[in-house]
């Protein structure tokens, strides 16, 4: 009769003690829950030193994964144009039921269907670099390509002030990809008072961009070309270099392949708009971590872009952006 009462009192105190101690320790070292299973990451292209961009994204992802203690499993098609393959890879990842998926979509429309499967399976999705036409992703982490396009457009406008030739051509990498659409839109916004001849698509083939440029050079009034990604830029620059037309046709490009930077040094490319792939990779995993810990995540994070010219390319602040440590031999 009295024992239950004393026992109860003991247990009550014990419970209070336990809670008090736990609270005390928790305040010293907060414990954050991290899923055991790896996060499924599907990028646009998994191999190829040509696409340094994705190598650097990968670096950012791995740094953040290390910092936040998350496991990641990175996969993707070999080349950006392999949309069906990416869908296949993504479906494979969904079947493993990861705690979260990070996707860089190769196509704005076609990746929606597999993402719906992920949503049905209760897997949250974060998109990076290129989004999809869907509300499913909880966050989209990318360069604001409209802003990036505007930077390129404004630079082109500035460069053309001192040029007698005013026609501008846009060489886009691919039709239908969000990055290409947004960059073109931004460039056209900045150049709305200028004369734009039109947009040509090189289908992510350097040779095609080269040929397009060669034919464009026939136009005596052509004063500038905006190349919307590195593949397009390399093709355009090669044609300009061969024709020795670097002072006649001014090129503003995107991205920072080593060859592009060499063209920048030579003056074949006058300026290039560079994204921050490292930050993109890092922030995608950080956002995933925040989301998995129940924190609110913003629907869009602009990782920013920088206009690089021959003058600022070796400045301390931009050196590592243009020549990442990770790509060193």
């Amino acid at each position: 009769m009295k024992n239950w009462y004393l026992l109860l009192l003991s247990l009550m105190f014990a419970l209070i003690l336990f809670m008090a101690l736990s609270l005390l320790y928790n305040s010293i070292g907060p414990e954050i829950s991290v899923p055991e299973a790896p996060i499924g990451i599907v990028l646009k292209s998994s191999i190829g030193p040509a696409m340094d961009f994705w190598v650097v994204v990968d670096q950012g992802i791995r740094e953040a994964a290390k910092e936040f203690g998350l496991k990641v499993e990175i996969s993707g098609p070999r080349f950006e144009k392999e949309i069906l393959r990416q869908i296949h890879v993504l479906e494979n990842v969904i079947s493993k039921n990861p705690p979260l998926i990070i996707l860089a979509a190769t196509d704005y429309a076609q990746l929606v269907a597999p993402l719906e499967k992920a949503a049905a399976a209760g897997i949250p999705v974060i998109t990076i670099d290129s989004g999809v036409d869907s509300d499913i992703p909880v966050s989209f982490i990318a360069t604001d390509n409209i802003v990036a396009g505007e930077k390129a457009g404004r630079e082109m406008k500035r460069l053309l002030l001192s040029s007698p030739r005013k026609d501008i051509a846009i060489v886009s990498h691919i039709r239908g990809t969000a990055t290409a659409i947004d960059r073109e839109r931004g460039a056209r916004t900045a150049l709305k008072e200028e004369h734009i001849l039109g947009t040509w698509y090189c289908d992510v083939e350097q040779e095609k961009a080269y040929l397009i440029t060669k034919s464009l050079l026939g136009n005596e009034n052509l004063g500038g070309i905006i190349a919307l990604n590195e593949v397009a830029a390399l093709g355009v620059a090669r044609a300009i270099d061969e024709a020795d037309a670097k002072n006649r046709v001014l090129v503003v490009a995107f991205d920072n392949a080593v060859k592009e930077l060499s063209y920048l040094e030579q003056g074949v490319i006058k300026a290039t708009v560079v994204q921050r792939p490292y930050n993109m990779g890092y922030l995608s995993v950080k956002t995933a971590f925040d989301y998995l810990n129940g924190e609110k995540v913003v629907p869009f994070i602009d990782t920013g872009s920088v206009l690089i010219t021959k003058e600022n390319m070796f400045e301390r602040e931009y050196q590592e952006l243009l020549f990442p440590f990770s790509t060193e031999p």
């Binding site: 003690l17 005390l24 320790y25 040094e265 930050n279």
Partner: protein
Amino acid sequence: MKSSLRLGTLESRIYTIFTLMVFVSIIIMQLVSFRFTINTVRSSTLDSNRAMLLQLVKQMDSYIEGMEQVSMAVAEDDEIQSLLKEVLPERRGTDTDLFYSIQDRLHNYIQAREDISDILVIGDNGIIIPSDLEAEINPWTSVMEKDWYSGAEKAFDRMVVSSSYVQNIIKNRYSWVVSLSRAILSREDRKIMGVLLVDLKFNRIKELCESLVIGRKGYNFILDNEGNYVFHPTQQLVYSSIKEEPIRRILSLIEDPERTSFQEGDRYFMVETSPLTGWHVVSVTHDSDIVTDWKYVQIIYALIGLILFLVVGVATNKISSGITKPVRKLQEIMQSVDTGEFQLVGSIKATDEIRELAREYDIMVGRIRELMEANIREQEFKRKSDLKALQAQIISKGRELILIRDEIEHVRSYLTIQEMRYKDKFQYEMDIDPDLWELITLKITLQPIVENAIYHGIKELDYEGYIAISGWLDGEVIVLEVKDNGQGMDEKQLQEMVQGLETPLEKRPLFSRQGMGVRNVHERIRLYFGQEYGLYCFSTPGKGTTIQVRMPVSTMEDYL
């Protein structure tokens, strides 16, 4: 039993106080020892971290020293001296035996030292000798504009160590290096003839910084003496402000020789400056890496606390109940006094004090029992003898009877005596129907009633008492009445008196002697004449009491 539930009991008090004390002391103990553990682990981690940091700086400096050695050796080279002295039009000197001989030597250094990326000799006369046999000089950059070039010329005979940067002097090659440059002076007239550049692969320093880290979140970074980043593992995050380092605090730490580290948030910063380069190597340790198994330590501590608490709790329970159990038993036994039982404690398992208490109690109870038994025996004896006397009276009926006239005379003489005794206290009056005179009554019927009236009705009055004695015939019943103007009785007292009259002699309470005489009269009349006769009382508080004696009519002849 039930009492132990209440907070006021001895047991719950002991228990509560003990538990509270134990609770508080465990908390304090845990706090102190936990802090102590943490601090010990922390400081030992930081100590080993410092050792690691010193190691890092030492190794980094050894790279720079290696470059210096190469640089010294090359700068003194005879062939270089003579090549740079030549005044050559239009770079013709690049295709000479001397040029190739020098290039071969430079190339050999590179081969031997895999940490060196390039060695270049840049002559003021326009000759540039790269160590790489296939390297082509980048035509789109100007050597003269480079910091390492102008710096070396300015420093004259001292070496200049650059920060980390992308070297673009070779065409189509962009490599991260740290440059060590120095002017090449003519041996004869100490005039500057050119600059010798030794490029250290920055990767070496980077790998060094990345290998000597503590924990998952630890890292190192390097600042030059102006606070610019030479290396940071997440340089881009720092430049785009996603991550921030407390540069100002680090620089102030360098100036303060007293302190070696500081804490900001959950990171510990430790700085060591390289004497050779002037670079500040900063080591960052994350708190969560210092005690890696936080949760484990935490659970262990909580469990130890819990077990301790439970053990002490059970012990406290035993101790407190050991003290209070005999006390409570004693108390329970003592409570039996309430119901009139006097139980003995007997032998009890308890401490000496409690046992002594129990013994004394038992002695006391024994005494009380003896006293009570004696008292009961005495009373019993008295009652028995009363009854005997009564029976004796009843047996000798004849002697019991008396004429009312004689009984009246008897009362009158009693009253006369009492009147003298209680002078001026009361008056009395007698009014007896003369028809009653020759009738019979029991001996001593009126006197106890009158006595009662004086003692209980009149004695305590502060005014003059009055007793009226009257007698008359009520049909076949003789009524003798004693009426006083005394204090009277209220309803309850009257009730008690009537009840007293009706209670048989044997069942009366031991100590109640009051009104014995009156009751005796009542009983005697009933015994003698039958149940329908006896005494009848009427009373009004403050007004007085009337007692009537009712008997059947009878004469002396009836009994002869």
